[in-house]
Amino acid sequence: MILQQAFNGLALGMAYALIAVGYSLVFGILRLVNFSHGSVYAFGAHMVILFVSYHFGLAPAIILGVVLTGLLGILIDKMALSPLRKKNSPGISSLITTIGISYIIQNLLMMAFGSEKKTFPELFPSKMITIAGAQVSSMQIVMFIASVILLLVLTLLVKFTKIGLAMRSVEQSEKIASLMGINTNFIIAFTFFLGGASAAIASILISGYYQIVYPTMGFVVGLKAFAAAVLGGIGLFHGSIVGGLVIGVAEAIAASLFGSAYRDSVAFIILILVLVIRPAGLFGKKGIEKV
């Protein structure tokens, strides 16, 4: 029972971790909390079911969905966030703007697709595997592997490629980066594209597991994923993964001890405790700017 709940918690946490990576990516480069990430996540899943309903086939629909969601990320930046950066607005303006974006996307989705829960196609037939007496779905294992791959790819991209170097220099100073001949506009657009695409990948994997899609699907999960990102140290990919897993397991513990109704508050309690006790998160370095 305990082992089973621990596995369930890890599986839940994997979903949070997948989404949290997107928060970390955008925050790591631009020091921006992208509140619209949750609704971008819902957008990704809806694009896939839209293309599937037009008989594109599952694989092309997924690719199109990921690319379109990435483009949505760029659009958000160009329309709303980049003007704020040019005006040097305080960080809180961007946060409020992303809340506004989140409302718009969520409600447009609701108007276009309706508020009811819709079926998401199964990615592949899922089986239950028994590991040490606990049952785990093969889809959950795939989710785990996928998030580790996503983590590795993003880490390698940021740490070892030329574009990653450019991203890190933009993080240090956009002005100096542009003086060094880096096309900062492109780099920022690229970051938002990656952020959107990672949200779409997360939503496809998670919807593939639960097979449910609806416009508000990203709200609660998005907040929990944000808590996960903060817990691990926002801006750090491995921190997001560990943070997600910790929150998932904590939820499992709360559900076992107090009942399912208490489980949703766990993430928020952890979030507040971390922010008060150690704002830099588990892996963050001290002195990280808290704005």
Binding site: Q5, N8, S115, E116, Q135, I212, A255, A261
Partner: protein, 381 residues
């Protein structure tokens, strides 16, 4: 430029406020007879509001084709309560300031209905809710009616299924954490707790907005549940069945009539097979009245009507029938007529008891081969 824009906005607001003042009350006897329909038309529960409005409209169209009621045409006025108490309270005020409205079909959530109900009752406007299930709802006043199944009688049917048909004893309950779910969960715990041949092995309340029930399932499975009752709409029951059957294929999933919707099968897929629940309305029934409604509805909406939509259709029918029998729109006598009426609708013979609750008869349905069929056809009873 911006300042002109802001000045313009000030103007717009003041004009709009004043125009609100200008409306005057006029009552006429030959204009259309109005019925208000107040449901969430936007937001998370918009699917229900839209579906009920359509169902109500179909009934009204039927009456209008036959010349309306008392020689007057019937007209629906739709309001969006956004499923919020605030909004419902202000809509209720708006409705009761229109003397041509004779009654209200609404609101969706029990909590919301209960905010608005005192206003209707004070002003003698009849409110019929096709969804409210809070036990205290219908006792708010004489003008407040409920055309929805009373949960305790539904659980009575489930009890019968468990004990007599399936011969299962260990039951788990997964209830959605809303006013409705909590009430239903309490009633279930009470009924199953008092039946010596049943054991309630666990009850888990789950929050809206989360689709993962694995933690609750693991607990119930550990406790040895043989049957699990999903207290919620199809959106809870389908994923619950799917996730439970993944870890325990033998589990018997049971739902309530509120979960009876085509989406249950679409969302649940194979896992929906074998789900049993009591309904007062059965869309595949051969009854011509049911067929007529189902066909018109499906044509317009794209999917089959749920039990709740059928209750919305019947509620309008009952109200109009009462107006017809009453012979006038006098509010007090209309209420008495409504209390006395026995209406043969598509959700069975409906009659209101003294506090305004409808008594219903139930059919047991089971999902088989992607279709809802009568349980008696399968079990041979």
């Amino acid at each position: 430029m911006k300042k002109i824009v802001s000045l313009f906005l000030v103007l717009v607001v003041s004009i709009s406020l004043l125009s609100g003042c200008a409306s005057t009350k006029e009552s006429s006897q030959d204009g259309p007879l109005k019925i208000a329909v107040a449901f969430p038309m936007t937001g998370d529960n918009a699917e229900y509001g839209k579906s009920f409005l359509l169902a109500a409209q179909i009934k009204v169209d039927e009456w209008n084709e036959n010349g309306g009621v008392l020689g007057r045409e019937v007209e629906l006025v739709s309001y969006d309560d956004k499923n919020s108490g605030d909004e419902a309270a202000s809509i209720a005020q708006k409705i009761v300031s229109d003397p041509e409205i004779i009654g209200v079909l609404g609101h969706f959530a029990s909590g919301v209905s209960m905010v608005a109900a005192p206003t209707y009752n004070e002003n003698k406007y009849i409110e019929i809710s096709n969804t409210a299930s809070h036990p205290d709802y219908s006792s708010i006043g004489d003008y407040i009616f409920r055309n929805n199944s009373v949960i305790s009688s539904e659980f009575g049917v489930i009890e019968d299924v468990l004990v007599n048909d399936l011969k299962l004893s260990k039951v788990g309950v997964v209830a959605i954490k809303t006013d409705w779910g909590t009430t239903a969960g309490d009633i279930a715990a009470d009924i199953f707790g008092n039946n010596p041949s049943l054991t309630l092995v666990g009850r888990e309340d789950v929050l809206e907005g989360s689709d993962d029930y694995s933690l609750a399932i693991a607990k119930l499975k550990e406790a040895g549940a043989e049957a699990v009752i999903g207290v919620g709409m199809y959106s809870l029951l389908a994923p619950l069945a799917k996730q439970y059957k993944a870890v325990d294929p033998e589990i018997q999933v049971i739902g309530l009539s509120n979960a009876y919707a085509q989406q249950l099968i679409e969302l649940g897929g194979e896992a929906a097979e074998g789900i049993i629940f009591p309904v007062s309305f059965y869309a595949d029934s051969t009854d011509p009245a049911v067929r007529k409604f189902v066909d018109t509805y499906t044509e317009e909406f794209g999917s089959e009507p749920s039990a709740l939509a059928a209750q919305a259709y019947d509620s309008i029918g009952i109200l109009l029938e009462a107006v017809k029998q009453n012979g006038s729109t006098d509010r007090e006598s209309l209420r008495d007529t409504l209390n006395a009426i026995s209406y043969p609708g598509i959700t069975g013979e409906t009659q209101f008891d003294e506090i305004g609750d409808a008594s219903k008869e139930y059919t047991k349905l089971v999902v088989k081969d992607g279709k809802f069929i009568r349980f008696s056809d399968v079990s041979g009873k």
